[in-house]
Amino acid sequence: MITATPRNDLLLMVFFAIAILTMPIWLSPIGAAYPDLLQRFAIYGIFAIGFNLLFGLTGYLSFGHAAFLGVGSYTAVWSFKLLSMSVIPAVLFGVITSGLFAIVIGYISLRRSGIYFSILTLAFAQMSYNLAYSVLTPITNGETGLQLAQEDPRVFDNLFGGAMESGTGIPPTNLFGMEMSGYPGFYFCAVLMIIGFYISMRITRSPFGMMLKAVKSNQNRMSYTGLNTRPYTLAAFVISGMYAGLAGSLLAVTDPLAGAERMQWTASGEVVLMTILGGVGTLMGPVIGAGVIKYFENIFSAFNDDALHEIFSFLPDVLQDGVVAVVGLFVGEGWHLTLGALFVIVVVFLPGGIMEGISRLSRIFSQKKAEEPTVKTRTQPGE
């Protein structure tokens, strides 16, 4: 069992950073090493890490986190339109705006706990979604989605690079001139995810994080212990909303447009699935969960019957048709079926998510190696 000493945390951090930055290498055998998907891994990883800070530590299940994702995206696109194509103000404003939204939504929703809290956050997210389609069309550009245009002001760009020729099309998003698409875009997102992971680790290990776990464990005892639970939960909610805003603005950085569907409840549900699949309350779990879901979404949905026939070509024709017919249900348009089955299996057999599976395996492994029964009563989710 790994205990959370500063040294182990440092090792974990180094391991995590290396694993993320080398993803283009070790993910290529399973066909996942193309920049678009890698960017998604990193972005949704950030989203899930932040979500887990709220859900994993305090136990408050927000069903409206996609609202912050959307707010982050819209803000980033507006920053591209009005200020500059540089990603720094876009990300900065994305995080700040979604943080402000989180203060308002959190302040109201956190008056209730349990299912009522979830419903309140869901209501706010659906409200944002519908407003983005209707009343707020001047800001969100409704169904078309908010896009960049040639005639956008881009005040700062025009101020400093005023000599830029017109008629060359919309300039790309950039970080000090480096174009933020493809691999540079991935590395930008990956570095931010590593920073986000580090911050979430610090929070989890801090007295503040301990108080958040206390909120989950027993709020009654907490208030009779002289602790005010409200500011703790609100702080967790806002931090988590800011992570979502960061993820949202990165979606806009890698692909500068924002649509309201980003705020729909299915997007909120997705991050819940990611967190539970990976392991609620663990550090690594949400990242793994996000990776698995995005992988399934992109890879499994790309399989079609022809590809399957090729895979099973070693079988006799009759058998081949049967197998393809069955397996075909689980890929292509049916990839949700695979995901659903995987989710059911994980929740039933590994309530602690994939991380519990990993820590069980490592326990079996280390027991075999040590051969001596160690008395360990404290079960901690592996990290």
Partner: protein, 251 residues
């Protein structure tokens, strides 16, 4: 002038007068027991002291300040700790964390955004918490998950969580309810030991054995009011008390 003064407290729920002009004066450093038959209003009274309920009328003064209209965490920060009838602990945290949390609460106040330091590297807090666990005899189990403890151990842990805060007043709501004889005696010993620290205690209790081995003053409640008050040996023989206990039972 006592550390806790309760004057004319009334509380009714609909038509039921749960508390009727309750008066109580608790001396600093004393162990004050409140006894009475079921439904006498003991728990309602205790809830009025810790901010869970607000009395309709009357005053509750603790250490010179009013306890009315402030929240439970503010009451705790003022120096009142409470042990519940069923132990309220952080069931899925380790014993050590259970005691570290109140230690932080006392040192750093009701809210601190202390998100960058490591909780386990805070020597001062950690040592204090470990000392406390040693005092109540749970140090060997400090890495256990609190929810896995026996009821007696949970009670000890809850006491440790309250004591580590160094409260001025400790409220104990039936600290031995549902315990075996052995656990009860252990708890009595523990309470006697911590009695030496001079913490003022209010104990609500059914078990006369517990009351007479701990308390140095006893108030008897019946039908929402204090009907008798005095030294334990005087209360034992008081006919009003026997009347309240036996007469109310319709044997």
């Amino acid at each position: 002038m006592g550390i806790l003064e309760v004057r004319d407290v009334n509380k009714s729920f609909g038509g039921l007068q749960a508390l009727n002009n309750v008066q109580l004066n608790v001396e600093e450093g004393s162990v004050h027991a409140i006894i009475g038959p079921n439904g006498a209003g003991k728990s309602t009274f205790l809830n009025c002291l810790v901010g869970r309920l607000t009395p309709d009328t009357g005053s509750v003064t603790f250490n010179g300040g009013s306890l009315l209209g402030i929240t439970p965490h503010e009451i705790n920060q003022a120096g009142v700790a409470r042990v519940f009838q069923t132990p309220e602990i952080f069931g899925d945290l380790s014993l050590l964390d259970n005691v570290i949390i109140p230690t932080f609460a006392t040192r750093d106040g009701a809210f601190t955004l202390n998100a960058w330091k490591r909780a386990d590297q805070d020597k001062e807090v950690r040592e204090k918490a470990e000392h406390m666990l040693e005092d109540v005899g749970l140090i060997e189990k400090k890495d256990f998950i609190a929810g896995s403890l026996s009821r007696g151990d949970k009670r000890r842990l809850e006491l440790a969580m309250c004591l580590v805060q160094n409260p001025k007043l400790l409220l104990l709501d039936e600290p031995t309810a549902g315990m075996s004889r052995a656990d009860t005696n252990n708890t009595i010993d523990l309470l006697k030991r911590i009695g030496k620290r001079g913490i003022t205690k209010i104990i609500i209790e059914h078990d006369m054995h517990v009351v007479f081995s701990l308390a140095n003053k006893v108030s008897v409640m019946a039908q929402g009011t204090v009907i008798a008050e005095g030294l334990p040996e005087d209360i034992k023989g008081d006919p009003r008390v026997q009347e309240a206990y036996l007469g109310g039972a319709h044997l």
